[in-house]
């Protein structure tokens, strides 16, 4: 039986290969205990990162992560894996800057190669107005010490030769916001890395365990009901997406969230020809080429509320039209697969992180279209909040109470597609 946990390295890979011996489980099975110090609902990136940082940074290890299906099967596995920090508001860019920092160190921290490829992130401006927004973002970013600047069409062409910068397109390119640290990550790897790290430090990951109720006594949380029986706990963290409002309802907490699908698609692989992530707000599309050679496309959220994860034909038609507007030379590439993920949209497009009117019931929800890139920092900050009882500065502006106090975050001021 292999030693646990097993350290991953090139050397260990060689040794295992040479001896043809097996790797131990990346995370283990556990029986569901009758009580935990902390119960995290949702075994996605946010839930697992929270469990990891609770253990790593605060020594809190008697933690259960409850996942109704398999880990990383929701938004964590359906997003387009883009990471960046060139946000529009000072609070937004500071928060995501921390996330990029964490992503940069995550491979070593987790001893799991998450394949963060910092090939740069380019947001195209097709008209005066969007070029103005790019300048705005660049100026905010500059003040926050974030590597972000406006570049010319010629520079766009140099960084991404497949893009048509001529005046032929319906939406010619006037410039772009260029953010070198941005890039893409192997999204599943982040989930698995955190799961392995959290498990190694003592957290219990329970897949196939659905939360069916939250027990509240007076105004305090005392436990949860699950498909595998009740669990007593003084702290419950709602780290779900898509169904976050339904989970909050179980504790009697109303969230100002509507759930909308966001569609994405992937092509067959071709040889590498596109390095940076390309975003066009005007055309509602973002494109990147994975290490495997596929193009991954995403769009804005659909204009209706739904819990459906099925894609539509109209989406792929519009998407293809928009992508070919940017890169007319790829019309012979083939779309391989389409899907949808669920986005929990808040009125100001900012997340909701913090305590709720029910003592011990915390939320880390409402991530809209930004949940993946925020996973590490959200986990780190939520863990700190739960462990210390104080709300860290980085997430202070994301509390639920802001909707009553009117101190909305300003990220909605950005273009509709923010990837």
């Amino acid at each position: 039986m292999a030693r646990y946990p097993s350290r991953y390295s090139a050397l260990s890979l060689l040794r295992k290969g040479a001896t043809r011996s097996n790797w131990p489980r990346a995370w283990r099975h556990h029986e569901l205990k009758s009580s935990y110090d902390v119960v995290i609902i949702g075994g996605g990136l946010h839930g697992l990162a929270t469990a990891y940082y609770l253990a790593r940074n605060h020594g809190i290890t008697n933690v259960a992560v409850l996942e109704k299906a398999y880990i990383g099967g929701g938004g964590s596995g359906r997003n387009t894996a883009i990471v960046r920090s060139n946000y529009l508001t000072p609070e937004g860019s500071a928060f995501y800057d921390r996330s990029v920092q964490l992503y940069e160190g995550l491979t070593e921290d987790l001893n799991f190669n998450i394949m963060f490829e910092q090939r740069g992130h380019m947001t195209l401006a097709h008209n005066d107005a969007s070029l103005r927004t790019m300048r705005w973002r660049a100026e905010v970013n500059k003040l926050g010490g974030i590597d972000s600047k406006v570049i010319s069409p010629a520079e766009v062409k140099e960084l991404a030769p497949a893009i048509d910068i001529s005046d032929r397109p319906r939406y010619p390119i006037h410039g772009a916001l260029w953010h070198p640290p941005g890039g893409i990550v192997r999204h599943d790897a982040v989930v698995w890395g955190y799961a392995r790290g959290a498990d190694a430090r003592g957290a219990h990951i329970h897949q196939g365990t659905e939360v069916t109720g939250i027990d509240v006594a007076g105004d305090r949380v005392i436990g949860v009901q699950t498909s595998h029986g009740p669990v007593a706990t003084p702290i419950v963290i709602n780290c779900t997406a898509g169904w976050s409002t339904l989970i909050a309802d179980m504790a009697g907490v109303q969230l100002p969230i509507t759930t909308r699908p966001l569609q994405a698609a992937v092509t067959e692989p071709v040889q590498p020809f596109l390095d940076p992530v390309i975003v066009s707000g005007t055309l509602h599309v973002y494109v990147s080429q994975t290490a495997r050679g596929e193009l991954v496309f995403g769009a804005s959220v659909d204009p209706y509320s739904s819990y459906s994860s099925r894609g539509s034909l109209g989406f792929t038609e519009g998407l293809a039209g928009h992508v070919l507007e940017l890169m007319p030379g790829i019309s012979k590439m083939r779309l391989l697969r389409q899907w949808a993920g669920l986005c929990d949209m808040t009125p100001d497009f900012g997340p909701i992180i913090g305590p709720t009117p029910v003592d011990g019931f915390y939320v880390d929800v409402g991530w809209g279209t930004y949940g993946f890139k925020a996973g590490p920092v959200a986990g780190e900050q939520v863990a700190a909040m739960v462990a210390t009882g104080a709300i860290p500065e980085l997430i202070a502006s994301f509390g639920l109470e802001r909707f009553e106090e009117g101190a909305l975050t300003a990220e909605k001021g950005a273009a509709a597609v923010g990837h």
């Binding site: 990383g72 905010v140 040889q271 050679g293 034909l313 070919l324 300003a410």
Partner: protein
């Protein structure tokens, strides 16, 4: 090379009189019309078509059809062409993909030697440190990417799309699909029959001599039936809600999308043959039985010279008959129905040389054929909500519960001789016809028609069972082989993933990438599930498949995109602007003049004489009815009840969250007739907004909205001499200041054109008239005004001059000076918010913002040094704090030619926005400048004397 072409075969698809020349990796080859790329190459002795993704193993023909994972080639500038499907065309330049330096010798095949170290997910476990080498490693990893090459200079191939409205759409043109189409047509339905291959017939096509008579009969009947539209070389790509069905017509490499609203969908997709997992199962020379039958019967190509056949079903038996007929020496037949472990491994270096059977017996062979069972392509059924059920007795997944408008026919459901399959297809087609016609009749009843609609007998047909035949469960043999050929994933890889904790099928799929390649799960999906189940000590039923998602088969982006339909809009005066030296600017969908050479001069001329701007892109909405004022009161924040006929009022529209999303004026032209203008970009949005409220909340109100943006050309005549000018060309209107005051509107005749609308409003801050004329007369009126004003100093001005003048006047632009969170108070239009109105969009939020105070406010700002124009988006910082904190930004800035100094609008945090305050603006280059906040938004003529004169 030796020819592997056989003598004429009875059902061959090739035309031996039509020779086709093409190139393969730079070498001239020949084939016949009707050949696929693969069959022509196979006939010429080519055995290796590609190198595998990870280990760079040589790969040959496996299935010889569209879904063959080993037959992806580059054809000219088109990557990932299916050589098992694509027909040969003269002059084709075919090359192997992603090989280096050549197909015969791929240097990266060294990966095979270290293969044992490249376990699934190996990349997650290595290159963890040092971080500095990671990007180098990533670059190397990317060079191993699969697939062909894209040339960014490829000309765009936008293909037209079409709509179709078949009563019954049949996916699959084999015997069941053909029979279903005929029966549905017989019942009176219009049918679309879609077949992936180049000919109808499905497995009958390559079914040998026995299959020919029934196929000929079905083909003749289809041919004779005008109600059946046949699409071959086409595929049903997806089934979406309400039977919205995507069909891709392939014509060689040129694809067209057909969007069909099928009243009933019949899925007759047949069965896909499954490979067997054993050592060496990917060696060139190892084929599935279907591949052998296709090569021999369709293309007259001998797939080998000495063959071992491992068969568990009639498809394998048929292949044996085909091989014998073709004169291939059948060295050994291993009947896997008797014992499943007879096939141990395929042996060979680069291609098959021998087959090891149980007991260590080796048989020399250059061809190994397996026939071990089926995958049911339930993809379209899954998209309709079905979850297929595994039947261990049949060793395959079968359809579960289908919705009313989807039926399954033939091999996807069960097995039997051709007659049974055809019989099943007939019943299904007959029932599909009934359901479709019932739906058609129901739809017709919803439409008022002169003639009575078709009525259909309502009784349904009981579809007889087509039971699935028993089949041994054969997925993997005693040795380890490939589960997914595209992704180079072996059975042991899946088992290892399970052991490492990736123990649900979805996790194992993602970890190993099995079924994630271009074939998705069509070929190896069930094998992956079976291997996973075995490793996890679970059943196949409990393990389940991963989700099938659209499209069923990949579609080119060109076909999906179709012809670009995004309109470019020009005003009726566009040609005049071009002829007169206008510099164009893209403004949303519109192309309009930015300036005619010198915006500053255009401003000064307008301020001192008269200028004219083409304002046609303005959104225009005609509103009629008794309740229009109610609607205006609801969508605008200010009061509209009191608007008398002949008056114009400015209004701001807020969304329900109180955020400003549009502004404009509305004129009351007659008692029940109003004319609304919106921002150019907001035209469609505002119209939707009005109609949404009318339809959802106020359906009883008497309001009719008509978008007339394109119906009117608009031009603004501005400047101190604008009245004088207009008096020369307008009639039936008294333009004197007394009878036509500021903020009034009249219907008048201009330059002989009746029914023009004149609004006396002033975005520029000058005495000005906005003249809206029927679009067809736009150029005539424009030209007439220019002619009439030549002695008044008239000159056109463009968007830039207008932007300067509106900034001088302090008017904000929605979307530039406001953002997605700017509520009406922040925008400085608090005076226009009438919270005592009964209700209006955004009222609760604005009431609250009014009480609690806006956190930010829009202010007019003037740099102390008036020669500096801080670029828009410059940050305003609190220089008192140690770390510069942003407290706002410049939203608009220009050099004012009228004032001779720079002027700005800015959004700042409220405490910093008091009139007289001095703020620090950080220029993008890093320098700080001081700027003063004005008491009001207006830089020029705050009293509005010019405007009201």
């Amino acid at each position: 090379m030796t020819s592997h072409r056989l003598p004429v075969q009875p059902g061959e698809l090739i035309d031996r009189d039509d020779l086709v020349d093409f190139r393969w990796n730079g070498v001239e080859h020949g084939g016949f019309a009707g050949d696929t790329i693969a069959s022509a190459l196979a006939a010429g002795g080519v055995e290796v078509f590609s190198r595998s993704f990870k280990y760079r193993r040589p790969r040959g023909i496996l299935t010889a059809d569209f879904h063959d994972p080993n037959l992806f080639v580059q054809v000219g500038d088109e990557p990932n062409v299916r050589a098992g499907h694509r027909r040969l065309a003269p002059g084709m330049n075919v090359t192997a993909q992603g090989t280096w330096p050549s197909l015969e010798f791929d240097a990266r095949a060294a990966n095979r030697i270290v293969g044992r170290f490249l376990s699934p997910g190996f990349y997650y476990k290595t290159f963890i440190s040092p971080a500095s080498l990671r990007s180098t490693y990533q670059r190397i990893l990317r060079r191993f990417g699969a697939g062909g090459k894209i040339d960014p200079a490829t000309p765009p191939a936008h293909a037209g799309k079409r709509f179709a409205h078949p009563d019954v759409l049949v996916a699959g043109g084999g015997p069941a699909g053909m029979a279903a189409a005929l029966a549905a047509s017989h019942r009176g339905a219009r049918v679309m029959l879609v077949e992936e291959n180049h000919r109808l017939g499905g497995h009958l096509l390559y079914g040998g001599p026995d299959a020919a008579p029934p196929l000929a009969e079905l083909c003749a009947q289809i041919e004779a039936d005008d109600a059946i539209e046949v699409l071959t070389d086409s595929v049903v790509s997806g089934r979406y809600d309400h039977n919205w069905v995507g069909v891709v017509e392939r014509h060689g490499g040129e694809e067209h999308l057909v969007k069909a609203r099928a009243k009933c969908l019949v899925v007759a997709a047949g069965k896909i043959e499954r490979p067997f997992v054993f050592a060496g199962n990917d060696l060139p020379g190892v084929m599935l039985s279907g591949a052998v039958s296709r090569l021999i019967n369709l293309y007259s190509v001998a797939p080998g010279t000495r063959v071992v056949v491992a068969t568990a079903n009639e498809s394998g038996d048929a292949a044996i008959a085909d091989l014998e007929r073709a004169g291939v020496e059948v060295a050994e037949v291993a009947d896997l129905r008797r014992s499943s472990s007879q096939l141990v491994r395929a042996i060979g270096k680069g291609k098959l040389e021998a087959v090891e059977l149980s007991g260590g017996r080796k048989v020399e062979a250059d061809l190994l054929v397996t026939a071990v069972g089926w995958t049911t392509p339930t993809s379209l059924l899954n998209m309709a909500g079905d979850r297929p059920v595994y039947d261990p007795a049949a060793a395959r997944f079968l359809p579960g519960d289908l919705p009313q408008d989807v039926l399954a026919a033939g091999g996807i459901v069960g097995d039997g001789p051709v007659e049974s399959i055809v019989e099943h297809g007939r019943f299904v087609g007959f029932e599909a016809g009934r359901r479709a016609l019932t739906t058609r009749a129901a739809w017709q009843r919803l439409t008022p028609r002169a003639e009575p609609s078709d009525e259909v007998a309502a009784e349904s047909t009981d579809i007889p069972e087509l039971p699935a035949a028993g089949h041994p469960e054969l997925f993997a043999g005693p040795t380890d082989g490939f589960v997914d050929f595209s992704e180079d994933v072996k059975g042991s890889d899946v088992a290892m993933a399970v052991a490492e904790g990736y123990d649900s099928m979805e996790l194992a799929k993602r970890y190993t990438t099995a079924t994630m390649g271009p074939i998705q799960g069509k070929l190896g999906g069930v094998n992956a599930v079976a291997v996973h189940a075995a490793a996890a000590a679970a059943t196949i039923e409990a393990t389940g498949t991963t989700s099938w998602r659209p499209p069923y088969a990949p579609i080119t982006l060109g076909a999906l995109a179709g012809v670009d339909e995004d309109p470019v809009r020009y005003s009726p005066m566009h040609d005049w602007h071009v002829a007169n030296g206008a510099t164009p600017i893209v403004a949303g969908q519109w192309i309009r003049p930015d300036h005619y050479g010198d915006p500053s001069r255009e401003v000064l001329n307008t301020r001192s004489n008269v200028g004219i701007i083409d304002a046609s892109p303005l959104g225009k909405i005609d509103l009629r009815g008794r309740d229009v004022t109610k609607l205006l009161d609801f969508v605008y924040t200010n009061r509209w009840e009191s608007l008398r006929v002949g008056a114009v009022r400015y209004g701001v529209m807020c969304a329900e969250d109180g955020v400003v999303f549009d502004d404009g004026v509305t004129a009351r032209l007659e008692a029940d007739r109003y004319y609304m203008t919106t921002t150019s970009g907001g035209a469609g949005r505002v119209w939707n907004w009005l109609d949404e409220w009318l339809q959802t909340s106020f359906p009883t109100w008497d309001v009719r909205t008509t978008a007339v943006t394109d119906g009117y050309a608009a031009m603004n005549v501005a400047g101190p001499r604008s009245r004088e000018l207009l008096e020369r060309v307008a009639s039936e209107v008294d333009l004197s200041a007394e009878s036509f005051a500021y903020m009034n509107g009249r219907v008048a005749t201009v330059a002989g054109v009746t029914d023009c609308i004149i609004l006396r409003i002033g975005f520029t801050g000058e005495l000005s008239y906005e003249v809206h004329v029927p679009a067809g007369y736009g150029l005539h009126v424009w030209q007439s005004l220019l002619d009439a004003g030549s002695d008044l100093g008239i000159a056109p001005f463009g968007l830039e001059a207008q932007r300067i003048m509106r900034l001088e006047k302090g008017h904000f632009l929605v979307g530039q000076d406001t953002d997605g969170l700017t509520k009406a108070h922040t925008a400085g239009v608090g005076g226009l918010i009438k919270v005592d109105k009964a209700d209006f969009s955004g009222k609760p939020e604005l009431l609250w913002e009014g009480e609690s105070g806006a956190p930010r406010r829009l202010v007019a700002l003037q740099p102390v040094d008036g020669s500096v124009v801080p670029p828009e988006a410059s940050q305003i910082v609190d220089s008192a704090t140690e770390v510069s904190r942003t407290i706002g930004r410049v939203t608009s800035s220009r050099m004012s030619p009228t004032l001779g100094r720079s002027i700005c609008l800015a959004i700042v945090d409220t405490p910093y926005g008091e009139g007289g305050a001095t703020l620090t603006v950080r220029l993008p280059e890093g320098r700080d400048i001081a700027a003063t906040v004005l008491d009001h938004h207006v830089h020029l003529d705050p009293e509005g004397e010019r405007l009201r004169g």
